[in-house]
Symmetry: C2
């Protein structure tokens, strides 16, 4: 019997000083007792035989026998005929001591934490109109089971895959983006990420250095602002109107942002769709100023009664657009799957960065997504969810219609939330507080501005809520707004 066969792990909790005092027996006794007290040896845990432990520690078996006996007499161990020695079951459950933490601030910890409040937990009975909420339940469970069964039918490869993602998956995704978004790309142009946000973070890390100008929409996506800020970039805001980014207001020359973030399909948060003329003007602006456009094709899958517009990446002739998207909305953010289509030199830099980080999504997850896309489930699910969300949107719209003289719904053409714009003079913060007091949560528009807000209202996300809650919550919201009048 070699120590290779001892799997109990007890021996590694023990380290004996041979030349030291106290005696080996005393050292062993105290260390086993401590391991029990600290919960490393749990109640009921079976110990190795005295012979095996003695062999593995390289000490006399007599020592181990004596220690086990002592601990048995103290009540730490029990010995059952035929089943060896175990830790007693009836020990009081002792709390695990907390991991030691450094006293004070060690020199290897940065002084200024990079904090960003992304979400806060809410009471469960609240009706939270949170933007970004989705449901997946209309997806037949059998489809989900089938794609995973296929993806895990064989053992996985034992080597790391391409950093940019599984080649077959990228080909299927490229085909999908070509057909549905008009993005001319092949497998090699696509890079899998964990999310659109990770794609944005990687672009920011590759392109931005301290002091560089980084452009965002105003109001816009706060995480883009934060990400650019963590790179030390100077933030340049450009206002949006009902049609999205005011391309005419983009600064040029030495004030032109090095990178410009834009959400043309469904401006976040106001919901405008960038008209084709502005799209072309934006590309011209990028060309004139040697800037990179980051096209976050946010919520493009969920259009309602509005014709689609070609992605900027499909109009780009000069390789100035990095196109990012996600499966968080069309499936679930729990899958951690997004993507990036970018000019080759940028993509290659991102691959080098990602190769030192998470590399690629887990192989089974990639293969399950491949089966989902290849067998047509993705497009069927998007169709299904478009109907599903259109119904929810209609419910919300209908319930809020009676107060349209006080609050107008904006950005109805696409997405999973709307912007409820209040008539000037109404106090959005007070209304939000009054709604919260009645168990309804909406998000103040103010949070999406870097500077001073030029309008007031809330984001009302309905994607994740049941129809009954949408109606109940919207009624409360309408009442609160009427009372505030």
């Amino acid at each position: 019997m070699t120590s290779t066969s001892i799997q109990d792990g007890l021996e590694l909790l023990i380290h004996l000083e041979r030349r030291g005092k106290p005696s080996l027996q005393r050292q062993l006794l105290e260390q086993v007792r401590r391991a029990i007290l600290q919960g490393q040896l749990a109640p009921g845990r079976r110990l190795p035989s005295t012979r095996a432990l003695a062999e593995s520690l390289g000490i006399s078996r007599n020592i181990v026998v004596a220690v086990y006996e002592e601990l048995w007499s103290e009540g730490y161990l029990i010995q059952r005929r035929g089943s060896g020695t175990s830790v007693a079951d009836d020990l009081p459950s002792l709390p695990l001591p907390p991991r030691p933490a450094p006293a004070g601030t060690p020199r290897w910890l940065p002084q200024r934490p990079t904090a960003l409040g992304i979400s806060c937990p809410l009471p469960p009975d609240v009706i939270a109109f949170q933007p970004g909420g989705v449901v997946i339940a209309p997806l037949p469970l059998g489809v989900w089971n089938a794609v995973w069964k296929e993806a895990t039918a064989c053992l996985p490869p034992t080597a790391i895959g391409p950093t940019a993602g599984d080649l077959e998956l990228r080909a299927a995704l490229a085909d999908y983006l070509r057909r549905t978004r008009g993005v001319p790309c092949g497998a090699e142009d696509v890079l899998l990420t964990a999310s659109a946000m990770q794609a944005l973070e990687l672009i920011a890390r590759v392109t931005l250095r301290p002091g560089d100008l980084a452009g965002i929409e105003e109001p816009g996506y706060p995480i883009a602002r934060h990400l650019f800020g963590t790179r030390g970039a100077q933030i340049v805001t450009t206002p949006v109107d009902a049609d999205g980014l005011r391309v005419d207001a983009l600064p040029g020359g030495s004030s032109a942002p090095l990178v410009q973030y834009v959400t043309p399909s469904h401006q976040f948060p106001l919901g405008g769709r960038l008209p084709i003329a502005r799209r072309l003007a934006l590309l011209e602006w990028a060309s004139a100023n040697d800037s990179l456009i980051i096209e976050d094709d946010y919520d493009s899958e969920f259009r309602f009664d509005a014709p689609p517009l070609p992605a900027l990446a499909g109009l780009d002739q000069e390789g100035r657009v990095a196109y990012i998207g996600t499966f968080s909305k069309v499936l679930t953010p729990a899958l951690r799957l997004g993507y990036l289509v970018a000019p080759a030199p940028l993509r290659q830099q991102i691959v080098l960065l990602k190769r030192l980080g998470d590399q690629h999504p887990s192989w089974p997850t990639q293969r399950a997504l491949l089966a989902f896309i290849r067998d047509g489930h993705l497009e069927r699910h998007i169709r299904r969810m478009r109907r599903h969300y259109a119904e929810k949107r209609a419910l919300l719209s209908k319930t809020l219609a009676p107060i349209s003289h006080l609050a107008q719904l904006r950005g109805l053409e696409a997405g999973l939330h709307v912007f409820l714009e209040l008539r000037p003079g109404l106090d959005a913060r007070r209304i939000a507080q009054a709604a919260f007091a009645r168990g309804v949560v909406v998000t103040l528009l103010d949070a999406f501005y870097a500077g001073k807000p030029d309008r007031g209202g809330f984001l009302v996300g309905y994607g994740g809520l049941e129809p009954e809650k949408i109606v109940r919550g919207a009624r409360i919201l309408a009442e609160v707004i009427e009372q505030e009048q």
Copy 2:
């Protein structure tokens, strides 16, 4: 019929200028033709009906009818009774035009790429003794299927999970690390990553600023050196001997590294196991110099005929050890799963960083790993693989025994590779080249030094090779070494 129901995607390839010249009909004709030629509309693809397309584009149906007819007469489209209009099947397959790339170097691309050659593809008939190679096949397929079936039996949650990972998985992993590695930790102390390397990258990004001193082993893990280098850190090397890091040679005072990377279970690449006295001395050194120790518990699962030693993280009383590990070796790197146990303030900073990046591994992958650990499969698989690799190691050792006067195997106690140390005077590079000419690949030790190598030889990884190839490859290696003598 609203445009919501049109799913063909053709309409988004089209953008018509209403006030412009040429005519709407001419614009539509040219754009559909271009979409076919560029492969965005694939051969056999069915087009929307003329009525649906006209409605979705907001133009007269007559225009669409005329365009379809023209393209039919040109041979681009076919019209079949009862099945509408499709793209012709017999079009020559046209290459997709490459995505445009920026001309020259745009100002948003860094000048100096961060390059690191991690792997290079090899001819398939070669016997590659690559370090890090593993197999998974001894795992019963039924076990693999069962854990995934459980993990995907229900639809996934529609919200993002904790950045540090699924709490149940972290609890199971903490339990495992407590029992098998003597690391005192609870669920909240564990953070899931994609790999040990990602854990290291996150630690480096949180702790190191340009000019900081970062310590590595010499020879050591080149990726640690590279990662610290990308942070602008100054690299401090400390020599290793047969027992691992020469703790007595670590610089102190103002020359003490801020972070010190160490591989105590199986020094990479030489294979030494850090004795308990050195472990304690290393912790004392860290305390005296306010330094962070990064313990990469590399290959700790695969010990052979050697007693286990407690992890540094289990001996640490001051919260100065960040402990990192991976499932890449015990399962496969294709899963992208690793972990980190670190002092709370460091962990919290890493969570903030990861929240802007990949966040957490995909939910089904985490749940499958949870089932794998919880049902005892992980420990059974490690036992199985320990026997498996021990047999391979014995084969390699036996085959190379006849040349032990020329080359000695080192680091036999643990891991999935050995270091084959050549007698002084033998030229390792020439031997590697001669072996390569005969189809056998070994890795020169030189690549693992930041400075001048103090010994010569190769790493011989056997984990991923079949027994027959190990014997054949080792015989060739032995012959080449004898001839070089």
